[in-house]
């Protein structure tokens, strides 16, 4: 069996472990807590950085619809900002200051994020975009997902998974606990996770990550288990053997994931959709899943009308984003896992500098991008696109997003960024100096 990261691991060991996990609910309800959580966890992020790279996790948070970057990180020092946004501009007095010299601050609804920032858990990259910006949601999202300005081909995370051989060749059981290499929480899998060899694992809710036939007739579950938790009768590397093994993997993963998310989080999460997704992810991390990449998303940022200023619709969305991120990192810290988990957030584009007639903003271009976690290089990086030098009313990007991807792939995931991104992008400095 071809194994990822060359950890010796036999099929038999997997089966035994699988069976053990499968019966754990009956034998020892606290099984997962008792082992996976009890693993010596990197107590400080420094230990994690010096430690084994495969412990590292990347969480991607997608803000769908085109988040208004200028009302997220507010250039309160620029008069042009206030002239262009008479109805929705954030007054200087309301801004949570990030950098007085540059005249930058966070939207007041981002107070929880400001706490993360002050604690050194958040970095801000300014003016992120790409050449010849596309203002179609779909096209621009595809460009971010494929890391290719044509927006075609496989996703960047998919290519990462392909290149790391955590795909079907090794089987998902290439990881000791049968965990998928990457998990998306959502109804459909994002293009970003689509590889050539690896199909994304995706579920909106862990409660559907199982066979639903049993809901119809509970008595069938016993037979179902017997048929899906067994070794293949066929000899050699046949499709039948592969399917039988994946079916078993699926059962083990399902047990593991559903038990993981059944645990109470260690902190209280706010009641919004992103928080729900992040709390699922935190519980999976806590249970010791070997999954490397998680994907979550929050929609509704397409604020063409009635966007609001310090309060209102956009403020609500930002508040949900910030409070969810804060709860997520509080939870991870309480678990002792914060140093293993970097989060990258992005949106497909920012919005136009000038507000429109409906007190909203239309599709624009460059916007800030955020990284979270105790390992990130905190602070505000790069230069803000000049407010006095616009391109047809839009910001000119000062940093190509692929430099940030390259930084994350290269120094956090320890992967070959240029082959994954199919081009050479000087990796942005994303990690703090240890």
């Amino acid at each position: 069996m071809d194994l990822h990261h060359s950890k010796a691991f036999t099929r038999r060991a997997f089966l035994e472990r699988g069976v053990m996990l499968a019966s754990a609910t009956v034998v020892a309800p606290g099984f997962v807590q008792g082992t996976a959580l009890g693993l010596p966890s990197p107590s400080a992020f420094l230990a994690s950085l010096a430690g084994v790279p495969e412990d590292r996790v990347l969480v991607v948070v997608q803000l769908s619809g085109g988040n208004d970057g200028l009302n997220t990180v507010v250039p309160y020092g620029a008069d042009e900002y206030y002239r262009a946004r008479r109805g929705i501009g954030i007054a200087r007095g309301n801004v949570l200051e990030l950098d007085g010299r540059q005249g930058l601050g966070l939207h007041p609804a981002l107070a929880p994020m400001k706490e993360l920032y002050d604690a050194g858990l958040c970095s801000v990259f300014q003016g992120v975009g790409y050449p010849n910006p596309n203002r179609s949601h779909f096209k621009s999202m595809d460009i971010w997902h494929t890391a290719d300005t044509s927006g075609t081909g496989e996703g960047w995370i998919g290519r990462y998974l392909d290149s790391e051989c955590v795909g079907f060749g090794a089987g998902e059981s290439g990881s000791a606990q049968g965990a998928p290499p990457a998990i998306n929480i959502g109804r459909t899998a994002p293009l970003a996770m689509q590889g050539r060899k690896v199909n994304p694992v995706s579920f909106e809710n862990a409660s559907v990550f199982r066979w639903l036939g049993e809901d119809h007739d509970r008595e069938l579950k016993g037979e179902y288990d017997r048929l899906n938790r067994r070794e293949s009768a066929s000899v050699g590397d046949t499709n039948e053997a592969f399917l039988t093994k994946t079916a078993l993997d699926a059962q083990v993963s399902s047990d593991l994931i559903r038990r993981a998310v059944a645990a109470e989080p260690l902190v209280r999460y706010p009641g919004n959709e992103l928080a729900r997704q992040l709390s699922l992810i935190a519980q999976m991390i806590r249970a010791g899943l070997k999954t490397r990449v998680y994907y979550a998303s929050l929609g509704g940022f397409d604020t063409h009308a009635g966007q609001g200023g310090a309060n209102g619709r956009h403020a609500q969305l930002l508040g949900q984003f910030a409070s969810s991120m804060k709860a997520f990192y509080d939870d991870l810290k309480a678990q002792g896992n914060d140093g293993r988990v970097m989060t990258l957030s992005f949106s497909e584009f920012g919005r136009r500098v000038s507000q429109n007639a409906s007190n909203g903003t239309d599709h624009g271009t460059a916007a800030p991008m955020f990284l979270f976690g105790p390992m990130v290089r905190p602070g505000v990086h790069g230069t803000h696109p000049p407010m006095s030098d616009l391109d047809g009313g839009d910001l000119k990007h000062t940093l190509d997003f692929r430099h940030v991807y390259a930084g994350v792939l290269d120094s956090w995931m320890r992967a070959d960024a240029s082959s994954i991104l199919q081009g050479r992008y000087r990796p942005a400095l994303v990690l703090r100096k240890s």
Partner: protein, 515 residues
């Protein structure tokens, strides 16, 4: 039929002699199991009555039936089935308005034009969804399954995605083109594909002009559509791209733009001339690599996975590939003779091939509905499921199409596959949005009746065996005992509910993913 049951059930052929791999199957060896196999590969499976009817025809007539079956019940779709004008280019009047507004910096008019475009895009995406549902329904209902299966083949081969071109009517036109030539001639289709608006937009040839040719179409035309990587030179790409300059479209029609076409001399495949795009295609068709590559592609789609390393190809498969390649060349790229030979050869029915292919998501869904006679349910939910399983039709992941085989399968697609079949059988949606559940019950009675009509009455053991033979193409002992348990738990009552529960279990088996 009872004799046939004895003659083929559980019978394992002696190890195949590779030299005889291409020899047509003996009519005496063509029974229920072989007919079932043929129906799955040349279509989307069949019910016991259909399988048995195909078996009764014997191999030659069965294959002819699938290849030729003219059926008046299904007409070609009406020309005005979908709105062709949603994404139409600006009219002269609108163009003039836009130019004026831009020069006058008339923001209101510009915003109005932008809003119009956005509304059109919203409508067009809605129409794309309708076209998806239309094709899925057609695959489910067609009396000519091989035709739709070939459309699916061409769609994966000449992969084009709506995501990129954002013109649903062009996607529809391309789909229709694949249908027109489904079982026609590959050469003709290759000649047409460089005139297909969806393809020209997808691979940027509409931006390709003399002096700055875009190489995208020229490259993929050889790499993915005909010859395969490594069989041509970089200079063939450059010169081919020049030959293709000026091949573009206006609205829904192909246009050869003389002004943008590079009329200069080019050197392609070792020959010189003022080649056009059409000459380029003729050059490609003259290369031996083309018939080799296309034969492998057809084999992989209809017969079985091929290892990337040619040395690992089985001796029997090698004999078949070479024989079929010769047939393909001799018949100047006609598809039918190739498929006839593939579907008749002994190798096609051997243990190496039968029941070894992983169903694509479309095979699974369309085949499940057809073979089990389930209600069609909500096609929108089925499209969502297809997307989660990795096969969003009209949205292939890249110009290389779907990788197929084992790439379809991981732990989440495994559950989606099982749950989609459970949805067909029970109406309970795979996303558990129970408010939208389909209350229409699945009636298993017709399937039971068909089994009895084909095989006659039988004991519990025999019924279980027939169910497994029909749905899995094999009768594993562990599966038989599981189904018997289900029957016995119901006091041996072979009614509708027992049948549905058996099918719930069967369709959740790893083996159900194979055909």
């Amino acid at each position: 039929m009872a004799t046939q049951e004895r003659a083929t059930l559980g019978e394992r052929q002696v190890r195949e002699d590779p030299r005889r791999a291409l020899v047509p199957i003996d009519a005496a060896r063509f029974g229920y199991d072989q007919a079932r196999h043929l129906l799955w590969r040349a279509g989307f499976g069949g019910t016991p009555a259909q399988i048995s009817a195909i078996a009764a025809l014997g191999p030659e007539r069965a294959v002819d039936f699938l290849l030729e079956s003219p059926d008046a019940r299904e007409q070609p779709p009406a020309a005005d089935l979908f709105d062709r004008d949603i994404m139409r280019p600006y009219t002269a009047e609108e163009r003039r308005m836009a130019v004026q507004a831009r020069s006058a910096r008339d923001e209101d008019t510009l915003a109005q034009l932008r809003a119009m475009r956005q509304q059109a895009q919203v409508r067009d995406r809605r129409q794309m969804r309708e076209i998806q549902r239309w094709w899925l329904t057609r695959m489910i209902e067609t009396p000519r399954p091989l035709e739709e299966k070939m459309v699916l083949f061409w769609h994966g081969h000449f992969a084009t995605s709506y995501r990129t071109i954002e013109d649903s009517y062009h996607m529809y036109l391309q789909n229709q083109r694949f249908r027109t030539h489904a079982l026609g001639n590959y050469g003709t289709l290759l000649r047409e594909i460089i005139r297909d608006p969806a393809m020209l937009a997808y691979l940027d040839n509409n931006d390709s002009r003399k002096g700055r040719p875009n190489e995208n179409l020229a490259r993929e035309l050889m790499e993915l559509f005909s010859m395969g990587v490594g069989t041509y030179s970089e200079s063939d790409i450059k010169e081919g791209a020049r030959a293709l300059t000026g091949y573009t479209f206006v609205d829904d029609e192909f246009v050869f733009n003389r002004e943008n076409h590079d009329t200069g001399p080019k050197r392609l495949f070792g020959k010189s001339g003022a080649f056009t795009g059409d000459d380029f295609v003729e050059g490609i068709l003259a290369q031996r690599a083309t018939s080799t590559f296309m034969t492998r592609k057809l084999y992989a789609f209809f017969v079985g996975d091929l290892p990337e390393d040619a040395r690992e190809v089985s001796p029997a498969a090698r004999v078949v590939l070479e024989g079929v390649r010769t047939t393909f060349t001799r018949n100047r790229f006609a598809i039918k003779p190739v498929l006839r030979q593939l579907f008749l050869c002994q190798h096609f029915y051997s243990d190496e091939v039968r029941g070894q292919r992983i169903k694509s998501p479309v095979d699974l869904v369309v085949g499940g509905i057809r073979e089990l006679r389930t209600p069609v349910r909500d096609t929108s939910a089925l499209l969502d499921a297809l997307s989660l399983m990795g096969q969003n039709i009209f949205y292939p992941p890249s110009v290389a199409g779907w990788a197929g085989g084992r790439s379809w399968i991981n732990t989440s697609t495994m559950f989606v596959r099982q749950n989609t079949l459970a949805f067909l059988l029970t109406g309970q949606r795979p996303d558990r949005r129970d408010a939208l559940a389909d209350r229409q019950p699945y009636d298993a009675r017709p399937l039971l009746d068909e089994l009895e009509a084909v095989f006659g009455p039988g004991t519990d053991e025999l019924v279980v065996e027939r169910v497994l033979r029909t749905t899995l193409g094999r009768v594993p002992t562990y599966a038989a005992s599981a189904l018997l348990d289900v029957l016995h738990a119901r006091g041996g009552k072979r009614d509708h509910a027992a049948m549905r529960d058996m099918l719930l279990l069967v369709t959740a088996m790893p083996e159900y993913q194979l055909c």
